[in-house]
Amino acid sequence: MVLLFAAGCSSVDPMGSPEVGQIEDDEQRLWKTVIEEQQRLDRSGTLYDDPAINQYANEVVQKLITPSVRSSPLTVQVKIVKNPLLNAFAFPNGVIYAHTGILARIENEAQLATLLGHELTHATHRHTIQAFRGMKRSSAALATFQIVALPFGVLGAAATTLGAVGYVASVSGYSRGNEREADREGLALAVAAGYAPAEAPKLFEHLKRDLEFRKIDEPFFFGSHPRLAERVESYKELIEERYAARSGELGEERYRRTMLPLYVETARTDLAIGQFELAEESLSMATGQQPNHPQALYLLGEVARQRNGEGDLQRSEQRYRQAIVADAHYPEPHKALGMLFLRRGDKQEARNELQQYLHLAPQASDRGYVEQELRNLSQM
């Protein structure tokens, strides 16, 4: 009985360990499925292709790889998915996908290393095949992997582009024991690479705060409040047990400087969704790095205009003007100012700004509306 229990619990050795010889048949089949799922995901057009950010994330994950993993069949790589929800997941062959949403909320490189270390451990410790073998034995069997629909509207349906393996890795997560192992081993990798262990619980506390702010649980593993609470507790215990007196690198400035375009991109989506506070937070990160970033300043103006709270219209005008000072050839703030003046009844200023907009963007998609407004102004 004890033998059976032990066999059930620790039947899979980590990648790179001497005990791992040939990959077994079912795991080979799983990898084949994984490659098909990845190809579908990569072709979907959802990958965020900023070369500097992709290179940076891959440099960080490379620092975490041990020599034994380097000689294993894993192809460790990070890919970024355009999606504002909090998500990251690893396929069993070592390819890690991180959403722009989670990267925009991470504060420094040490936190990124914690997240990537956690995901990398799922691959190195072969958690997916353990999950599949466990499910085959259970009555739920593979039916559990069928994705019918997710109870989440905004972008959560993106999970439907994932196949069965991606679903487990991304949405349902692994067993509590496997997740704890990913916390422990992932943090060990980050600490060995020289990162500050104290950042680990901060990352998940920060994500938890974000979820409370959004007032929803997202369909993904890192978008679930209880699971984030578990991570916080787990990392706090690990630090107390193993790394109480350990300091390390934060890499905050490097992280924020590299992520600047991603902050702006994520803010655009959050603004479209109507998450004004989240958009403003991302844009403040961008202007914190580059105070005269024209797009970030213009979008801060848009956040204020659309939120339309007390003093917001004045704030939006100020931001649009700052955006124009930052880039005199940037058309959008001119149109935004023109519309603002129009609403205020300042016809001459409105005319000037709208004409300047059409001058700077003669092929603008909304030229028809602007011309209509200019015609109305000339008839007044």
């Binding site: 603004l271 998609s365 028809g368």
Partner: protein, 201 residues
Amino acid sequence: MKLLLVAVLSMCMLTACIGRQAKWSMVGGKELIENEPIEVEWPRAWMKFTPAEADESAKKDGLVLTATRDGLGLQAIILLKRPVDQGFNNTKKKAAPGIIPQELAELVLDDLRAAPNFIDLQVVENSPGTLDGVSGYKLVVRYRTEAGLPKQAVYYGCLEKGLLYTLIYKAPQRHYYGLDLPTFEAVKNSFKWKLQGGTSS
């Protein structure tokens, strides 16, 4: 006989309870859209799909009908209707009372930008448009589906009695979009508001 009568009556009552069923039907020529104050002239040899009354997904999207000739993936003309104060599926923003067409178009665009199945959305045109004389917007957008297929779509939308009506044409960007765009424009130009009782507005 009595038993048969009861059975027939029960069937009728059951059907009434279930409500309108989803159905595909051939279209061609003028049609007064069922339960809507709208008349359009359909092209010949197209098929129209009307969702079941109990179809929650169709209700959420405000789907009135969709029509196609070769299949919905190849070309689709869609008519949507939703109360403007009900909000949208993807964006949390709502239309303020007295919203102007340009602001309405921005809201519709934000809803598309926040949608998971409109990847790499590009706005080709955002201009004033009308549906049978009612001022609204015209949007032309390009995007990729979750499967990576480039598509193009035209949206004509306007507010009528507190309801946002949207007439859409969607097709793969290559070949099909240009092929059936004139057909769609003809349908759009045939769009007529009808007063209750069938008199033209």
